[in-house]
């Protein structure tokens, strides 16, 4: 079996998807790339099925909010792991904050169920096709997505703290 290098992964992806996969970078030895959000399942499926790539373990799903990035405010990040060769990669799709709809990966990875619920809980990504998309960590009554940058970290219902003393 050939050594699974970043170049090899990049070449295979570009051979399959052409210009759709972009922004290949290697940071701290970990390959990172992007694709349009419509392609996320196709890319994940290809990485899963390919005999050489075999990225069959979904380590994590999370999101990042870039408020200044108009039209691509929210990034959904997939961390994938090839358990045979112990290689990890990072795959990002971007979506606008007005329609944060991304296809769910639960058909491909069962573990994506809770991870996507968490990502929905904190960033409000609407995973289309998810079987049970509701809050998982925060209280059910919460009416906003706390990790989005327009919301301050501090608890806003608090009245007893003196703003001057606490720098709020």
């Amino acid at each position: 079996m050939a050594q699974l290098t970043s170049e090899l992964i990049q070449n295979k992806l570009q051979h399959k998807f052409g210009d759709q996969v972009t922004n290949f970078t290697v940071s701290y030895g970990m390959l990172t790339f992007e694709a349009p959000k419509e392609f996320n399942l196709k890319v994940l499926q290809f990485l899963f099925d390919d005999e050489e790539l075999m990225f069959r373990f979904l380590t994590d799903i999370t999101a990042v909010h870039y408020p200044e990035n108009a039209g691509k405010e929210l990034a959904v990040v997939y961390h994938l792991h090839n358990l045979v060769q112990n290689v990890r990669i990072r795959f990002k799709v971007f979506t606008s904050i007005q329609s944060p709809d991304v296809f769910t990966a639960t058909q491909l990875f069962n573990c994506a169920n809770w991870m996507e619920r968490e990502t929905y809980d904190f960033f409000g990504i609407n995973f289309v096709g998810h079987p049970n998309l509701k809050r998982i960590l925060n209280v059910d009554e919460m009416d906003y997505f706390p990790m989005r940058k327009e919301y301050p970290l501090e608890d806003q219902e608090r009245t007893d703290k003196d703003d001057e003393m606490f720098g709020r």
Partner: protein, 202 residues
């Protein structure tokens, strides 16, 4: 000739243990003021009830984080808050008198704390141990309850992050003072009912 065995660090056993003096190591509750004669003693019933209650407070530890570790030290042999009549941690709210909330209470945990409080029988006292239980502490955050007094009434606050066992013992003694001084009918008073109503508790 026998070879002498030299021990660098001889281990000695205490073959003359001290006689235990119960009177010096056990806290004896003071008798309430009353009228005493040969073979009888009279006092107010409320004083007697207070004497019994204050020296047999059963704590219900609700420990969620580092303050809970300090509480374990408080309950262990060195500090031993069993000396104050709190020997038995009953992990059922129905038998307990004093709810000790120790540690950060997340908003998701808040209904649990409240339910535990509701399950306790009157009279009940609540102690908030540590900065987090008192005010949210450093966790001024969307997910953390900013003090348990937002959901249940609190009798004694023990500040500190975490408080030392001495602080927790001081808090227990302050609860004892409350138990000692409060009127037997306080729990039926309008003021107390209004307090509970302000928390939505009937």
């Amino acid at each position: 000739m026998k070879k002498e065995i030299f021990m660098a660090r001889p281990v000695r056993f205490n073959i003359h243990p001290k006689e235990a003096n119960l009177n010096s190591s056990v806290l004896i509750g003071e008798a309430p003021p009353g009228f005493e004669g040969e073979g009888f003693f009279t006092t107010k019933l409320s004083e007697l009830v207070a004497l019994g209650r204050r020296n047999s407070l059963w704590p219900l530890p609700f420990a969620t984080s580092c303050c809970g570790i300090e509480f374990m030290a408080t309950a262990a042999a060195h500090y031993d808050f069993a000396r104050f009549g709190s020997e038995r941690m009953a992990f059922t709210p129905r038998q307990c008198d004093m709810l000790m909330v120790m540690g950060t209470i997340a908003k998701k945990m808040a209904p649990v704390v409240r339910q535990v409080y509701l399950q306790m029988a009157e009279p009940r006292w609540v102690m908030a141990v540590g900065a987090c239980a008192c005010s949210g502490g450093i966790f001024d955050s969307y997910s953390v309850l900013q003090g348990i007094d937002q959901i249940i009434p609190v009798d004694v606050y023990v500040p500190g992050c975490p408080p030392r066992p001495e602080g927790i013992i001081e808090g227990i003694m302050r609860v004892q003072d409350l138990v000692d001084n409060e009127s037997v009918r306080r729990r039926n008073s309008d003021r107390y009912k209004a307090l509970l109503n302000s928390y939505g508790i009937q």
